[in-house]
């Protein structure tokens, strides 16, 4: 317990962080270890290259986008707080936690999870997934077996499916609607080790 506390103490504002993300001290410590492991040069922050060094992530077809999601536009580094906050999106929703009516929305709420996914598509941050943006993601995910024309028709059809206002793009609202029946809590959560 002593070592736990000492590690925790090293992290500034750890109380606030736990409050915001809902991670337990054990989670925070584990993530902090991981953070330090990724931060090979010990600068106290991570840059895209650090993420790129994760071998498996390089194999991920949309890995670049996911790495990009850690960095707010224009910035080239991510500190521990932001790192944890991003990861907190994927914390499973805990049912036991009493829901205070006026508490701020938790990071791992359904709509925040969706927002995270949405911004992976929406690279130009205009609040809409355009056909081109969708096409890029699809191309990355679908691989070689599908021809370019098929890809385009899939993209068109996908947009058509979700596009309610017929502007040929998917807004966040439409995105949310199209996934209404999907159990996001299940599909966008991972287990964090204690």
């Amino acid at each position: 317990m002593g070592s736990t506390n000492s590690t925790l103490l090293k992290i500034p504002n750890v109380e606030v962080l736990m409050q915001e993300t809902g991670f337990s001290p054990a989670h925070i410590i584990r993530l902090h270890d991981r953070f330090k492991a990724l931060d090979k040069e010990g600068r106290g922050h991570l840059c895209p290259q650090d993420f790129g060094a994760i071998k498996e992530l390089a194999m991920n077809p949309i890995g670049d986008r996911i790495i990009g999601a850690f960095f707010s536009p224009g910035k080239e580094m991510v500190d521990f707080h932001t790192f944890v906050k991003i990861l907190a999106h994927f914390r499973p929703v805990d049912k036991d936690r009493p829901k205070e009516p006026n508490s701020p929305e938790l990071i791992n709420s359904r709509s925040n999870k969706l927002k995270f996914a949405f911004q992976l598509y929406d690279q130009d941050k205009d609040g809409k997934i355009s056909r081109d943006e969708l096409l890029k993601v699809l191309r990355a995910m679908l691989g070689m077996q599908v021809t370019e024309e098929q890809l385009e028709s899939i993209a068109d059809r996908t947009i058509q499916e979700a596009d309610l206002d017929r502007d040929d793009a998917i807004s966040f609202e439409e995105f949310r609607k199209s996934l209404e029946k999907v159990n996001i809590d299940h599909k966008m959560s991972i287990r964090f080790l204690r």
Binding site: L31, R34, A37, L38, F51, I54, E56, L57, N60, P61, I62, G63, I66, L87, F90, P92, F116, A117, L120, Y121, V137, L138, M141, L142, G143, Q145, V146, Q150, S153, I154, D156, R157, T158, I159, Q160, E161, A162, D165, R166, D167, D168, F175, S178, L179, K181, V182, D185, H186, K187, M188, S189, I190, R191, F192, L193
Partner: protein, 838 residues
């Protein structure tokens, strides 16, 4: 009327039944030796009674003159009885299903057992002995395999494997727990004197515990099919029941061996051997199943030339996997289970759609048929004075322990599992899981093969097993539904197939694996991904046809399926109206808008259509809604089409398409073996479907993109209207005028057609979203065919004629002509359109 019908059916049932009884008694009279044996076996299915019959049946008799007809009962005796009994059982099911108010309260399995009681009573009354029983050999070799194969083949694969850990823990540890505790607790009670004087040792009690601990898949399917619980709960209960059968059989065999060895000979070495054999038998069986699955998948790569019997291969090989496992004394149930689960993905991709449907339905028929028979015979078997040895203490304690230990085991194991589960199993689900521990025919079968020499109290055990089965199937079965409702267990939600869903699923998977990588741990997603990678690279290469590999991607698959669905609707709608008029009015792109329309604005579509009929625009006042509800023309001479009515949508989609859209081409080819869209033989056909549907679907977008907004408005309007009810706008026949500017989007030829007022209105009323007609493909495609229609009977064959013309000819005048003539003649003959034209 309904009563009369029921009565008639019951009567028929009794007649059929009495025939079989009569037959049995005849047989009793004539064949004294083989009586019990042959009639028993005939009760269920074919066994090797032929030796018996042949000697009796062919008994040479001296004849004085040539007989014109002879009575040759013994020739056909066994198969005849089998067939009669099958018929009887199925009629029982029919009787059960006659009245839905009964089946909604009472599970069918329970009803069948009760009918079995009645039939058994009659047999008993006639023969003064139970000549028909569920014989374990027949049950295990002829009735059970197809049920398991069907269950495993139709298993939701992904769900099964992602919950495999939990299922295995419940199946293995849970079953061992149940077997051990029930056995020991019963023995303790016996020692305590709760059941009087019985000749049972502790090992026998354990053996009994093993056989009674099997949760029966047949009973579970029968009950859970009707309650529609959420899918995770379903897969847990169902998967467990499937796998623990295997485990039970293994346990049973181990304990049986111990019993034969006798108490004193059992030492530590024997126990270790028993444990080892448990694992060898269970995992060996599973492994054998996987081997057979690989064999089947590889075989289906090359069966395209014998497509007719393609589906048969799966059934035969599945059965062989069962028998082979049995031969090697491995777990046969586990073998056939894993065979079905593992091969389904690959064979579905490899085989033609038709074969897949055939297989699915054949398996369903066989499985449901034997399930029915099992339940009826569970009832029939009970009416036998010989098996009933009553021991109140033993029976009541068994029921008590079976239920109690099931609950304890399930709750305890779930508690352990929940420590590490991402989504914990909540308490109501756990309760239903425990309550769903129905015992069934497997337990009975195992009890029936107990050796009376080794276990003197066999009949007590058999009777107790039957009572436990009745208790769980009937009592728990009845209470399951109210319980599920009362506990508010999460029900299954049906979600439509959407590209968005599929695509985002994939994206989510990638995101999650990436996050796990970033967190630096090997989670579930790590395994999934590596398996997928491995599967992509090696397994698919080995097991899938090259062209099937192309279509395996789920996103693309969903896309393909949706396209087919649309195309089918497109065709059936046209057929329904008896003309190809729809191609112009129902731009195919409209179909999926309509799907949305029907869902979201369902309340106003009737208004639209109702008002439409006032203005009689001709053919088109067939209400949109009815078109959507019944995707198959109501009047059709194609018998198969009618059969398909009840099929699930996706299947019928493929089939109707195969039937209608490109049939003619296929017929032209010397072989009929390939379906049209996923073969390398005719890539252009596939391309054609693709282009055709896509072009037409995309057209509204392109035009909308070009800045002509009305199309967009059109689709939005009904939505707005839906809130403040039709203010006449959607219903107004002139409502298209505000959107008159959509004419811009018509190229010359389609614009000319739009001058025919009726058409114009129709298009916009039916398909607001697709009001923008496409100038390219479809309009011109109709023209020749409509003209042709005047002369030729309307068959799908005609579509062939359009294919070449479609691209080149743009005969606008014929288009208008044909259309005008159609408008005149169609309204009167609408109902009979198909009829006359076919």
């Amino acid at each position: 009327m309904a009563f009369l019908q029921q009565f008639a059916l019951l009567l028929a049932l009794l007649i059929v039944f009495s025939t079989s009884c009569k037959a049995a008694t005849l047989e009793v009279d004539s064949v004294e030796v083989g009586h019990n044996y042959s009639s028993k076996s005939s009760a269920t299915e074919k066994t090797s009674t032929s030796t018996n019959d042949s000697t009796d049946g062919h008994a040479p008799s001296v004849i004085s003159t040539l007989p014109i007809v002879t009575w040759k009962w013994h020739h056909v005796e066994t198969p005849y009885l089998v067939a009669l009994w099958i018929l009887t059982c199925w009629l029982c099911k029919l009787v059960c299903e006659l009245n839905h108010s009964v089946t909604s309260v009472f599970p069918e399995s329970g009803l069948l057992i009760m009918l079995g009681f009645i039939l058994g009573g009659i047999v008993w009354g006639a023969d003064k002995a139970q000549t028909f029983k569920l014989i374990p050999t027949n049950f295990f070799y002829y009735l059970l395999p197809q049920i398991i194969l069907d269950a495993s083949y139709c298993m939701p694969n992904k769900l099964f494997f992602s919950n495999l850990g939990a299922i295995l823990i419940h199946a293995i540890i849970g079953t061992c727990w149940n077997a051990g505790t029930v056995g020991i607790a019963l023995w303790a009670c016996y020692e305590g004197g709760a059941m009087g004087n019985l000749n049972i040792g502790p090992l026998q009690f354990l053996l009994f515990g093993a056989l009674i601990s099997a949760v029966d898949p047949v009973a579970v399917i029968a009950v859970f099919e009707e309650v529609h619980v959420n899918e995770v709960l379903y897969i847990l209960v169902f998967g467990e029941s499937l796998l623990n059968d295997g485990v039970t059989v293994v346990l049973y065999n181990v304990f049986d061996a111990f019993v034969s060895l006798g108490g004193p000979k059992i030492n530590a070495a024997e126990i270790i051997k028993g444990i080892v054999s448990f694992f060898v038998v269970a995992f060996g069986g599973s492994f054998l199943g996987v081997v057979f699955a690989i064999l089947i998948s590889m075989l289906t790569r090359i069966t395209k030339n014998v497509q007719v019997i393609e589906a048969g291969f799966i059934i035969v090989l599945g059965y062989l996997s069962y028998l082979t496992a049995e031969m090697l004394s491995l777990s046969a149930i586990l073998s056939i289970t894993f065979c079905g689960v593992c091969c389904q993905k690959y064979i579905n991709a490899n085989m033609d759609e038709k074969s897949v449907t055939t297989l699915r339905y054949t398996l369903k028929v066989m499985a449901n048929g034997s399930e029915t028979m099992i339940f009826v015979f569970l009832g029939v078997s009970a009416i036998d004075k010989n098996i009933w040895v009553w021991n109140t203490g033993f029976i009541l304690l068994t029921i008590f322990f079976v239920v109690i230990f099931r609950f304890i085991g399930v709750f305890f194991l779930n508690w352990i599992l929940n420590q590490s589960r991402l989504i914990p199993i909540d308490i109501t689900d756990q309760f239903v899981m425990a309550y769903g521990g129905l015992r069934g025919a497997v337990a009975y079968g195992l009890a029936a093969i107990l050796d009376e020499k080794k276990i003197p109290e066999k009949n007590l055990m058999l009777g107790t097993t039957l009572i436990v089965v009745y208790f769980t199937v009937i009592l728990q079965g009845i209470t399951m539904k109210p319980l599920v409702q009362w506990l508010k267990v999460k029900k299954a939600t049906h979600s439509d197939l959407t590209l968005n869903g599929k695509m985002n699923n994939r994206a989510f998977e990638h995101i999650l694996t990436a996050m796990e990588d970033i967190c630096g741990r090997m989670g579930d997603n790590w395994w999934t991904r590596h398996w997928n990678y491995f599967e992509d690279k090696y397994v698919c290469w080995l097991l899938l046809k090259s062209d099937a590999r192309k279509h395996k991607d789920p996103i693309f698959g969903a896309f393909h399926k949706l396209n087919l669905e649309d195309a089918t609707k497109y065709v059936t709608e046209g057929e329904r109206k008896g003309s190809l008029d729809f191609i112009r009015n129902y731009d195919s792109a409209s179909v999926d808008f309509k799907k949305k329309l029907a869902l979201e604005y369902g309340d106003i579509t009737p208004y639209i259509t109702a008002d439409m009929s006032e203005y009689d625009f001709g053919i088109d006042n067939v209400p949109v809604t009815s078109v959507m509800k019944n995707p198959i023309p109501s009047v059709s001479l194609d018998i198969h089409e009618q059969d398909r009515k009840s099929m699930p949508d996706d299947l019928s989609a493929h089939h109707l398409l195969a039937q209608h859209l490109y049939k003619s081409r296929r017929d032209n080819r010397p072989t009929y073996s390939r379906s049209h869209y996923n073969t390398s033989e005719n890539p252009d056909e596939m391309q054609e479907i693709f282009q055709r549907t896509m072009r037409s679907r995309l057209e509204p977008f392109k035009s909308a993109k070009m800045g002509v907004n009305p199309a967009k408005k059109l689709s939005k309007h009904p939505k707005k209207d839906s809130t403040h009810k039709p203010n006449g706008k959607p219903a107004d026949p002139h409502r298209t005028h505000p959107y008159g500017d959509e004419d811009f989007e018509f190229s010359a030829d389609s614009a000319s057609s739009s001058e025919i007022a009726g058409n114009f209105h129709r298009r916009s009323t039916n398909t607001p979203g697709a009001g923008v007609d496409n100038p390219t493909g479809n309009n011109t495609a109709v023209a020749p065919s409509q003209r042709a229609q005047g002369r030729l009977p309307w068959t799908p064959t005609n579509l062939r004629h359009l294919a070449p013309l479609r691209m080149s000819t743009r005969s606008t005048d014929s288009f208008v002509m044909a259309d005008a003539s159609l408008d005149e003649e169609a309204p009167e003959e609408k109902p009979g359109t198909h009829h006359t034209r076919l």
